[in-house]
């Protein structure tokens, strides 16, 4: 096998095993020469791929791939998929694909009964990579564009010079321009290690166009081992180009994490801003109201799991109004029983609400247990969307961003367009006067407090999707929400928005520089200093009182 000597696997985490090169080289030869007639997967081959020493299994896989023609025979492809999904068992000299109740023989594909004593096939990471590479190799000539695209991406990690003929053939056969470009990149990444300096130079230049993070790793590795000066220069130039392109991804990534954190801070602080703005009450139980919202989500999740398992993915949508209502009820109860008697005594309110928070935490501990409870993400909130090769935006965070925006708009509309909002604004600006013109300030207080509490509940529902849900959930966010409110001032909602987003982004920028803890400390110190200069926050209520 001539390809083997010059074959050097790609950098950035590639399989070192020479067997993989053998595997692909053999496939390449097999497909290109079409000399060996295609054979279906034999039961003996299937078994050898399923059990034994890693090296033997890889060798068996290479054989099977060489012997097969992917265009006509799908059994090997199906078998490899099953192996990757951990759906294969073996017993009595044969391998079986087990998908739930359906059992099929691996080699023939026919449904059979599963004999007694079947053992699971165990794969390690190395074997999994080999299976993924084999799958890509088989799918390279598939009729389906999606499959081909995936195959090309999969091969990026394990291509070497032995595969060149295969790649050239694929390039010739490719009709899609986008995929053609990807195959060109693949070809370049192989050729950059070629023995011929001219080819290396061309490849180095071409790689500048690649958007993949893997190319960066490859270029760094090649720079280390390259000796020809002009190729080295080309490599360095390409590396600079690739890195600047990747840097965009990184910058956007930091921005996104900052906005994500900011949206969470906004949700968390919005309710507090409303109650503080209206009643001058700093509610130390705010975190616990969030915790109640998160636990309400947990309960809804369990109800859906027990009674409506088919609709489980929708539980979050049902949990949103539930957490709002439950938290709002608890808030209203708090207000009517404790807080209204402490009107005009903000420091006492602070202490009393702290007491309430202790009681709420202990109640939850008694009812649900002291440990965290498991809140699973529904399937549409798991995973992420890859907008750039080095930037994946998780769905749950995108959802929270959207959710925070909707809540903000909802609250803004409520305050500015509804009757309740009118009363709330009136009482905030001048309680005595509002009372004089007939506003029932006591009832407005209760409703406003319940609104603030309900929003805290919504925040808890959102938090349950990104972090742990336990009795201490609120404690982690109390200081942050206070900082947002204090910074933003109580004049308008805009203050809370700016403060939350600003803090989120600044925090994440500092985190990349100094680490999470130092970032938080610096942010707190900055806020303390800012407040010294401007005690009323960013947006303040204009008034004439001296205090």
């Amino acid at each position: 096998m001539t390809g083997l000597r010059g074959a050097r696997p790609l950098a950035g985490g590639r399989i070192q095993g020479w067997l993989l090169s053998v595997l692909l080289a053999v496939l390449a030869l097999g497909l290109v020469l079409l000399a060996t007639p295609a054979q279906a997967l034999t039961p003996e081959q299937a078994l050898r791929i399923a059990e034994g020493d890693s090296e033997e299994r890889l060798a068996a896989l290479a054989e099977a791939v060489a012997a097969t023609d992917p265009a006509t025979d799908k059994t090997l492809g199906v078998y490899i998929e099953a192996l990757l999904a951990d759906e294969v068992k073996h017993v009595g000299g044969r391998a079986f694909i087990v998908q739930g109740e359906a059992v099929r023989d691996a080699a023939t594909g026919q449904p059979v009964a599963l004999p007694e004593g079947a053992e699971d096939v165990v794969n390690n990471n190395r074997l999994r990579r080999a299976f993924e590479a084999a799958r890509s190799a088989l799918q390279l000539f598939s009729a389906d564009t999606e499959e081909r695209s995936r195959a090309i991406t999969g091969l990026k990690e394990s291509a070497d010079e032995a595969m060149l003929p295969l790649i050239d053939k694929a390039l010739a056969a490719e009709r899609e321009p986008a995929l053609k470009e990807q195959i060109q990149q693949l070809r370049a990444s192989v050729l950059v290690s070629s023995n011929d300096p001219a080819r290396r130079l061309d490849a180095a230049r071409l790689l500048a166009e690649s958007p993949q993070p893997a190319t960066r790793a490859l270029l760094i590795e090649r720079l280390g081992t390259e000796d020809k000066a002009e190729v080295k220069a080309a490599l360095a130039a390409s590396l600079a180009a690739v890195e600047s392109r990747l840097a965009w991804g990184e910058r956007l990534g930091v921005l996104f994490t900052g906005i994500s954190l900011g949206s969470i801070l906004l949700l968390v602080a919005l309710g507090l801003a409303i109650t503080y703005g209206l009643m001058g009450v700093i509610n130390m139980a705010h975190g616990e109201l969030m915790m109640i919202g998160a636990y309400a989500t947990f309960v809804v999740q369990n109800l859906f799991r027990t009674y409506l398992p088919g609709l489980f993915d929708l539980y979050v949508l049902a949990a949103i109004p539930v957490s709002f209502l439950v938290a709002a009820l608890v808030g209203a109860l708090m207000e009517k029983s404790v807080i209204r008697w402490l009107y005009g005594r903000p420091l006492e309110t602070l202490l009393a609400t702290w007491g309430i928070s202790l009681i709420l935490m202990q109640t939850v501990r008694t009812v649900f247990g002291a440990q965290n409870v498991a809140v699973e993400n529904p399937s549409w909130l798991s995973g992420g969307v890859q907008v750039l090769p080095n930037l994946t935006l998780p769905y749950n965070r995108l959802f929270i961003l959207l959710f925070a925006a909707l809540v903000l708009v909802g609250v803004a509309l409520l305050i500015s367009r509804t009757r309740l909002g009118l009363f709330v604004r009136g009482v905030t600006q001048n309680r005595r006067m509002a009372s004089c013109v007939g506003v029932n300030t006591a009832r407005v207080d209760t409703y406003a407090f319940a609104l603030g509490a309900g929003i805290a509940g919504l925040a808890g529902c959102a938090l349950s999707q990104v972090g742990n849900v336990g009795p201490d959930l609120g404690q982690g966010y109390i200081v942050d929400s206070f900082m947002v409110v204090v910074l933003g001032g109580v004049g308008q909602l805009a203050g809370t928005v700016y403060a939350a987003m600003g803090l989120g982004v600044v925090n994440k920028l500092l985190e990349g520089w100094q680490g999470a803890v130092m970032a938080k400390i610096i942010v707190l110190v900055l806020i303390v200093l800012f407040i010294q200069k401007r005690p009323q926050g960013i947006f303040a209520l204009k008034g004439r009182s001296a205090d």
Partner: protein, 428 residues
């Protein structure tokens, strides 16, 4: 007049007898044997509750089992359970309480190394015994502690060796990610020395720490991705502890960092910690322990069955529907049984006698091997590397041929030259 005096006399006598009875009866009971008190010092709330609560339950199960067989020295064991709430100073306070107020004969407890270091002065000062069931960083050898968990050479070093092997992915660059306290710091110090001895350069090692309870891992995962993209194959060695693991693995899955690209091997993540996480995107990530629930041997079958029955009977949340066993549970189980055996051998609960009787104790462990307590106060343990399965269990992908003896004074730290693996009595 006489009658009242007589009545007064009667009443006083009755009172005196009652008083004497009340004060003397505990003494009488103690003479007759009474119960032997066993302290359980595990966090039942706070950030470590996710890991430690189940250890309290398995300890109670082992105690029930021993009592059902007649107890120890003819006396029943009585568990004294306290909750130090993941608060390290409270651990010390509760330990003091167990030893001096409750007068326990032995304590089973602690998980984090900082909790153990907080209670160590208490146990050494009062010459009491602690059984510590969790993997730790070594660099300690107290005569008042029996370490039933793994030392670095029984967990961390074999795990990294596996990562560097072909089957493990031939990793050349390493991210050492941990929670910020003594165990990850010391373990990473040992691992750095080990990696250096294998020729890994400093530039190929990235070390990061997050505080307890940290939950936002976006930036760290982005950093790992960037580091991994800088060259050779990268692997992550995670010593993250407690419930921080849940958001870490969630973020890992959501950002698409697959085990085939950058494998993560964890030392504090077992079946219990994976309970709250969607394990489908985590298939292939690794953990290193001396026991996995998926091990197939008669002792483990018996252990898991017993646990499932106990969890159902006691209505334990989570375990009653889905019973899980893990390494620290197994270590607790071995520890309690060995202690009972040692007490029987020493015919006393006196600490010095039991300490001497513990050395050489054996027990057929659920990990499938015979566990022996070495003079180093450590157990010999087999090492298993497991990969996460989609159902939250682990597939064993590598294991040692037999049990490995512990080396608490790690050979990779220069200052340990010449140190013997034998405990020293604390200076009073």
């Amino acid at each position: 007049m006489n009658t009242t005096r007589r009545q007064a006399g009667k009443t006083l006598t009755a009172l005196a007898i009652a008083a004497a009875g009340v004060t003397l009866s505990p003494l009488a009971l103690a003479q007759a044997g009474g119960t032997i008190k066993v302290g359980i010092l595990h966090s039942l709330s706070g950030t470590m509750a996710i890991s430690e609560t189940v250890l309290k339950d398995v300890a109670l199960m082992a105690i029930d089992e021993i009592n059902a067989k007649g107890g120890v020295l003819g006396r029943k064991l009585e568990a004294v359970v306290v909750d130090p709430a993941s608060n390290w100073p409270l651990f010390a306070e509760k330990a003091k309480q167990l030893i001096s107020q409750d007068k326990v004969a032995v304590t089973f407890g602690c998980w984090t190394s900082v909790s153990r270091k907080s209670v160590l002065p208490v146990f050494e000062g009062s010459n009491a015994l602690l059984f510590y069931p969790v993997q730790y960083e070594g660099e300690e050898l107290s005569a008042n502690v029996f370490y039933t968990g793994a030392a670095p050479n029984q967990q961390a070093i074999p795990a990294v060796e596996y990562l560097m092997s072909k089957d493990g992915g031939s990793a050349k660059r390493f991210v050492l990610l941990g929670t910020d306290y003594v165990y990850p710091r010391t373990t990473n110090k040992i691992l750095r020395a080990f990696l250096k001895s294998k020729g890994v350069a400093d530039a190929d090692i990235m070390e990061e720490y997050t505080p307890f309870g940290h939950s936002d891992y976006q930036t760290i995962i982005a950093k790992i991705k960037k580091f991994a993209g800088e060259g050779k194959k990268t692997a992550v060695v995670s010593t993250i502890n407690g419930d921080s693991n849940v958001p870490f693995y969630k973020e890992l899955g959501n950002q698409g960092l697959k085990a085939t690209d950058v494998p993560v091997v964890a030392f504090s993540v077992g079946e219990e910690e994976l309970r709250g996480v969607d394990t489908k995107p985590l298939v292939g990530h690794l953990a290193a322990w001396n026991y996995f629930m998926s091990l197939k041997n008669p002792a483990n079958d018996e252990f898991t069955k017993k646990w499932a029955a106990y969890a159902k009977a006691k209505n334990l949340p989570g375990h009653k529907d889905k019973p899980l066993t893990n390494d620290p549970m197994e270590a607790t189980y071995i520890g309690i049984n060995m202690w009972a055996q040692a007490v029987a051998k020493a015919k006393s609960t006196d600490v010095d006698k039991v300490r001497a009787a513990m050395i050489g104790q054996t027990f057929r462990a659920p990990n499938g091997f015979m566990s022996t307590m070495d003079p180093s106060h450590h157990l010999q343990r087999p090492v298993f590397i497991g990969e996460v399965r989609a159902d939250g269990q682990f597939n064993v992908v590598w294991k040692t041929k037999g049990p490995v003896a512990a080396d608490p004074w790690s050979d990779f730290i220069a200052e340990n030259k010449g140190k013997k693996n034998l405990p020293v009595m604390a200076k009073k």
